[in-house]
């Protein structure tokens, strides 16, 4: 270091051209502007610790790191002493800066809870990032195996180059730890600054906390498991039994907290490609299903033939295409089935992939070799059965995709009814269109009984589904879990107009127009029936799209306690 060699006396002298007395102010301006552009700090001041590789800050934070690495049955974990946290949130800013994250990006967040007695109120900031769970929901959910849990440290690491941006992990994590980066099309998340820890350095948040509220400890996995099963974690956060989060929150203040954002009027992302994908795949599966029923009932006229099956197939391809738009990196869509062993999303992709291939084969056969197909009735039916099984399997996987992330509004008993309902409603509506249009264009013989049967079934299915959905927005008492009460509040509040419109479309497309179609069919007006059928399908599609839009928008996301919306 060279700070005592006399450089201290070095002063940058003003440019010689500067003259106080010159009347030529412009000259002075120019010289000042040029001086302003000079960056002088490096020349003017000495460099300190230039070749010091180890972190100077280590002297303050070394006590916050474990003395020895985790042994068998152990892992690393964050420990937060809530009573030491002052709420300054330096941890969030440091995570951003020390990890070179993009503008606005940070993997740590600080929520707020309030509570206590009137005589002794309590306010508590809660800092959190990834909890490096024993059973990471993100890892289980990921269809491309972009998550790894380190067998020694237990750190849940995200492989950024493996991620294809499906964001399913962001739905699965109950703590909002993985963050989608729209610009890069991938998720990124906290890795506990794993390479810092490897080098004996503290994670950014640990280094930065002025009050030593965050530390890294070695925890026994069995202890974490037991605490999680006993429901011990942090006030107002999601049930730890789901993922067994390893972060230990300590506080001496056992009080009844409420999150500062408890009213939770937050609307979740609509995920429009998924809304479209779920609607169209279900229409398609339903369309094939109705065709199968018709064939088994001996009413295959107009439904077992290429126009109807092709019509359904088109929707299936629209759905599969839409799902690509959901991906941050669609080029890597082929990776989607890597997680077959654990991810319902991989299974959904596989099932719909099979469905598409089989259905395409069936339609091709019906188109290219209709006579041969007609001559092999059993095979023809069997092929249709296989197609239907694949389609319904896909729909079932869709149900499980949402069921698996443990949001009450998305539980199978609700999502299953809705997805099955959509499958039936749209399958019937599509069939009604196929039959009536074929009939009007005289492609087939007269539709006969099929119109009233299909329309009647459509009315019944739509009415049942709409009735079922009214439960979502009904005022709930305390016996209903809080997330469902919040969802109901959203549907009655900020989403009320959308929900009303959805019902209106559903009633129109699923009840009123099909009734008119029955009446028109009785009058024998083929073209009118066909027109009404198209209207019924269009309105039903609109209604189901809105239903699915609300499915995403109105769900309550389990997460760490928050503060007023930032």
């Amino acid at each position: 270091m060279d700070f005592d060699d006399g450089v201290g006396s070095r002063v940058v002298t003003p440019p010689a051209s500067r003259s106080w007395d010159a009347g030529r102010g412009g000259f002075l301006v120019d010289s000042l502007l040029s001086e302003q552009g000079d960056l002088s700090a490096v020349e003017r001041f000495a460099q300190f610790h230039e070749d010091v590789l180890e972190p100077l800050q280590g002297r303050y934070y070394s006590a916050l790191l474990p003395a020895s690495p985790p042994g068998p049955g152990q892992q690393l974990a964050f420990e937060v002493d809530l009573d030491r946290c002052s709420g300054c949130k330096a941890c969030v800013a440091a995570c951003h800066t020390l990890n070179g994250l993009d503008e606005g990006e940070s993997w740590r967040e600080v929520g707020l809870v309030v509570g206590g007695l009137a005589a002794l109120p309590v306010i508590q900031h809660v800092t959190s990032s990834c909890h490096h769970c024993l059973d990471p929901a993100c890892l289980t959910a990921c269809p491309v195996n972009a998550y790894e849990k380190d067998p020694v440290t237990g750190i849940v690491k995200h492989l950024d180059d493996q991620c294809f941006g499906c964001q399913y992990c962001t739905l699965a994590c109950p703590y909002d730890a993985p963050k989608f980066h729209p610009g890069k099309g991938i998720v990124r998340k906290c890795d506990m600054c794993g390479d810092r820890l490897k080098g004996g350095e503290a994670p950014a948040c640990v280094q930065a906390c002025p009050h030593e509220a965050i530390r890294i400890t070695v925890v026994d996995r069995a202890v974490v498991r037991a605490r999680a099963e006993a429901g011990e974690f942090v006030a107002t956060a999601s049930d730890p039994a789901y993922t067994a989060p390893t972060t230990r929150y300590r506080s001496l203040m056992p009080v009844d907290f409420r999150p500062a954002d408890e009213i939770g009027m937050k609307l979740e992302h609509a995920h429009m490609p998924l809304v479209i994908m779920l609607m169209t795949t279900q229409l398609s599966a339903g369309g094939f299903l109705v065709a199968l029923f018709a064939r088994l009932a001996g009413l295959a006229e107009g439904l077992g033939s290429p126009p109807h099956l092709g019509f359904c197939l088109v929707f299936l391809y629209i759905g599969l295409a839409a799902s690509l738009f959901h991906l941050g990196r669609p080029l890597f869509a082929y990776r989607a089935i890597l997680g077959l062993r654990h991810s319902w999303l991989s299974r959904e992709v596989l099932a719909f992939g099979l469905f598409a291939k089989l259905a395409t084969a069936l339609v091709a056969a019906e188109l290219l070799a209709p006579d041969w197909m007609a001559g092999h009735a059993v095979l023809r039916t069997a092929l249709l059965v296989v197609v239907v099984v694949a389609g319904l399997g896909g729909v079932a996987c869709s149900v499980m995709v949402y069921h698996a992330v443990r949001r009450p509004f998305w539980q199978a008993r609700s999502a299953g009814v809705k997805f099955a309902g959509t499958t039936l409603v749209l399958g019937l509506a599509a069939a009604l269109v196929s039959v009536s249009v074929s009939s009007a264009l005289a492609l087939n013989g007269p539709a006969g009984l099929l119109i009233p049967v299909l329309a009647g079934a459509l009315i019944a299915a739509s009415a049942a589904k709409l009735w079922f959905e009214t439960g979502d927005s009904r005022e709930r008492d305390e016996t209903v879990v809080e997330p469902l009460r919040l969802t109901a509040g959203l549907l009655r509040g900020p989403l009320k107009r959308t929900a009303d419109f959805r019902r209106w479309l559903g009633v129109a497309g699923g009840v009123v127009v099909p009734s008119l179609a029955i009446a028109a069919a009785a009058q024998g007006g083929d073209k009118v029936v066909a027109a009404l059928a198209v209207v019924a399908l269009t309105a039903s599609i609109g209604g189901e799209l809105l239903e699915r839009f609300l499915f995403f928008r109105a769900v309550t996301r389990p997460r760490m306690p928050g503060a007023l919306t930032s």
């Binding site: 490096v42 990890n99 109120p121 009050h211």
Partner: protein, 754 residues
């Protein structure tokens, strides 16, 4: 680069297509050793040099190590071996560079034409116009018809140059700083009690104290790095927090005293009385080093616990408990900030704290003191050298000896030094209102947001013939009113020194190029002098460092003497230097406190006991306006009018997006307000919309709103401390109701909201 396509690499590539453990996205987040003792840093931001400078937000004065590439700042981390912050910073400090890159930086002078439109002009035209307009106004209305409003946010050298150019060169008489809004009461209190404006402490006192009394202070949020000192105190100290709200700091107290707003003066007198009654005073210290104790003891005699309890809302037992804890402790320190200063009786409240320290001998020893925690990064520089209400170096304009002294040091005619002190901030605003002041030059402050009671301020500023605003951003509420906007370089784009709360002089350095044609404030003042025709007087003031040498001469022999600091290089090596640091026999210890010898700055060397009867609230709540409104800092991520902190996405994540009002659950229930619901807060002067935040931490009958939203000061009452002329931001009467549907659909928007 050539790529070999042998079999293993092809296999590897195919495998990577299926399972990519590495790649460009992974590399974006790699961390590598950064040298310079930094440990690992982002591989994309490896510095080739570093340099340390003090933060430009608050007065804690943290050292920040700026990471440089080719001399340009690319990142920063708090400095481990800076004596103030030991490698820690609050979010503002961490994000200090980000806010320099904002798109609304002022990059070129903007001049308003006859039609009222503003357009870019050259510096030459801007400064020619400014000089011509100011000359013309002065010619018609007298030299004192132009004035300036300065700031605690620019370097000491810059504020000294501004004060000198404006007053000695341009002939102005009136100029004041925004430090009036935060520190004036403390400054006046110290000056009267000690004989000089001298906060006596070192931050280390927070670690050495065994009883820490925080009055109207919430360091957890406002000064987190000072709170760190409290958490490192090894003596398990008593922590007494006097605050109407149960803040984060109050949560950490061993005894929270949730008094009624502005009853702190009564409480402190009550505690003084109890300590005197119990004999828990330091008679020897009082006799040796103070004056007027007997009168004080007599004065506080009526402040019995029953009376104090009635006034403060505390139980008498709690007051006795507080006094007992002080009595039991041997190193008591009292700390205050805006809760005391921003009051209609701030000076006397601060002096009540000083009195407690004096009478118990808790001053001049480790872990003691009556300690004002300052607000802005260079409020302390402003108090000594802004040349506004005090003559340079904490001197008196009205004192002929002081004038002669300054004239001699600067080599300027004594006649150029005004013989009367400036009007204070409120007086300048009144002067504009009355028409006595026709031209105003506002530097690095945002009165159109921050000044108390905004209801008439904009109209008032509209009366000016010529308003010059000098700022980093063209978008501040005030900058948008300017007839001439001068684009200024910010912290990190210029050199100079700041003085922090513990009197530590620290450096700021030039590590970024200012955008466009923005110039450092120093250079702008240089231009102003030149174009006004008084440049010759400031020939020696050629650079910040040459002004530093002038300031040393001005400080010599004064309590704030730092003539022993050689230059910027010496400051850099030492990690900042606390004043006093005289040329002769300076104490080189890195942390020092004042008055260890018991000698104060009054001529007789004795401190004064100063006191006065508490006065009623300027606007007590009544039936029409039943709530009392408190204002203050919202979060550690926000700074004042948010002209800077709103420009960082990370900081914006850390505080609520919309303005909010804290309300007690009982009041909220009655009014039908729930958390998140929009409410309307109204005072006799204006109204503001804010989302309710229902929390038991604010007592019933009180509301709290952060000062960071522009609408808060539409509510506040323009009441002032009579001695310090500091505005009383923290208590006025308001009412609140739930907003009607649609009423809150468009919250106040301004440069501070995005």
């Amino acid at each position: 680069m050539t790529t070999t396509l042998d079999r293993p690499s092809i296999l590897k590539r195919i495998q990577a297509l299926l399972h990519a453990k590495e790649g460009p996205l992974t590399r974006e987040l790699v961390r590598e050793p950064g040298r310079f003792g930094l440990g690992q840093v982002p591989a994309t931001k490896i510095p080739d040099a570093t340099t340390v400078m003090v933060c430009g937000f608050c007065s804690t004065g943290c050292g920040l190590t700026v990471h440089l590439q080719d001399g340009r700042a690319i990142n920063l981390t708090p400095t481990t071996d800076y004596p103030v912050n030991r490698g820690l910073a609050c979010p503002k400090g961490w994000e200090a560079l980000t806010v320099l890159d904002a798109p609304d930086r002022a990059t070129v002078p903007l001049l308003r034409n006859q039609a009222g439109a503003r357009s870019p002009v050259s510096w030459h035209e801007a400064m020619t116009t400014m000089a011509a307009r100011f000359h013309a106004i002065q010619a018609r209305h007298g030299a004192d018809s132009i004035a300036f409003l300065s700031t605690g946010q620019i370097a000491t050298e810059e504020m000294a140059l501004l004060g000198a150019v404006a007053k000695f060169g341009m002939g102005m008489v009136h100029g004041d700083g925004n430090t009036r809004q935060c520190m004036a009461s403390a400054a006046v209190a110290y000056k009267q009690s000690f004989g000089f404006d001298a906060p006596p402490y070192s931050y280390h006192d927070l670690e050495e104290s065994d009883c820490i009394i925080l009055i109207g202070a919430n360091p957890c949020i406002a000064h987190p790095v000072l709170w760190e000192r409290v958490t490192k105190n090894p003596h398990a100290p008593e922590i007494l927090v006097v605050d109407p709200r149960r803040t984060e700091t109050a949560m950490a107290a061993t005894l929270h005293l949730p008094i009624r707003p502005k009853s702190d003066l009564t409480l402190l007198y009550g505690i003084a009385h109890l300590l005197i009654k119990r004999g828990a005073i330091d008679r020897a210290y009082i006799d040796a080093h103070t004056r007027d104790f007997a009168a004080f003891a007599e004065f506080v005699r009526p402040y019995e616990p029953a009376l104090v309890a009635r006034e403060t809302g505390l139980a008498p037992q709690v007051i006795l408990d507080a006094a007992a804890r002080i009595e039991r402790s041997s190193r008591v320190s009292l700390w205050w900030t805006m809760g005391v200063n921003q009051s209609h009786q701030g000076v006397k409240t601060a002096q009540a704290a000083i009195n407690l320290a004096l009478m118990t001998g808790n001053i001049g020893r480790p872990g003691t003191g009556a300690n004002s925690i300052t607000g802005q990064c260079n409020a302390m520089g402003s108090r000594l050298f802004s040349n506004t209400t005090n003559l340079l170096g904490g001197r008196d304009f009205a004192d002929p000896a002081d004038r002669a002294c300054v004239a001699a040091i600067l080599g300027i005619p004594e006649a150029n030094i005004p013989r009367r002190p400036s009007l204070s901030y409120d007086g300048i605003i009144e002067g504009v209102k009355s028409g006595a002041i026709k031209g105003l030059w506002i530097v690095a402050t945002n009165p159109a947001h921050s000044w108390i009671d905004q209801s008439t301020l904009r109209e008032t500023l509209g009366k000016l013939e010529f308003l010059v605003v000098q700022d980093m951003y063209h978008s501040t509420e005030t900058a948008r009113l300017a007839d001439l906007l001068l684009p200024a370089a910010g912290w990190g784009e210029k050199e100079g020194t700041f003085i922090n709360s513990e009197r530590r002089i620290g450096l700021i350095k030039k590590v970024r190029r200012a955008p466009g044609q923005a110039l450092s404030d120093f250079h702008i003042f240089t231009l102003a002098a030149h174009y006004h025709g008084c440049g010759a007087m400031f020939r020696e003031w050629s650079s910040p460092e040459s002004v530093f040498q002038i300031l040393k001469r001005l400080s010599a022999g004064r309590p704030c003497d730092f003539s022993g600091v050689a230059d910027y290089h010496a400051l850099d090596l030492a990690g900042g230097v606390q004043w006093p640091y005289p040329a002769a026999n300076p104490d080189p210890s890195p942390r020092r406190r004042l008055f260890s010898d018991g000698r104060y700055y009054h001529a007789d060397g004795r401190a004064r006991f100063l006191f006065d009867a508490p006065r009623p609230l300027p606007e007590p709540p009544d039936a029409a306006y039943p709530f009392q409104l408190l204002t203050g800092r919202g979060s550690a991520a926000q700074w004042h009018t948010q002209t800077r902190t709103a420009k960082s996405d990370v900081l914006r994540k850390l505080y609520p997006r919309d303005p909010y009002v804290e309300i007690n659950p009982a009041d909220a229930r009655e009014l039908g307000l729930v958390t998140g619901r929009w409410g309307v807060v109204e005072s006799r002067r204006g109204s503001a919309r804010a989302r309710a935040f229902v929390t038991p931490t604010v007592p019933a009958g009180l509301l709290f709103m952060p000062m960071h939203d522009g609408s808060t000061n539409r509510l506040t009452l323009a009441a002032f401390d009579p001695e310090s002329r500091q505005p009383a931001y923290k208590a006025c009467a308001v009412r609140i109701r739930a907003a009607a549907d649609g009423e809150a659909a468009h919250p106040t928007s301004g440069p501070t909201t995005h």
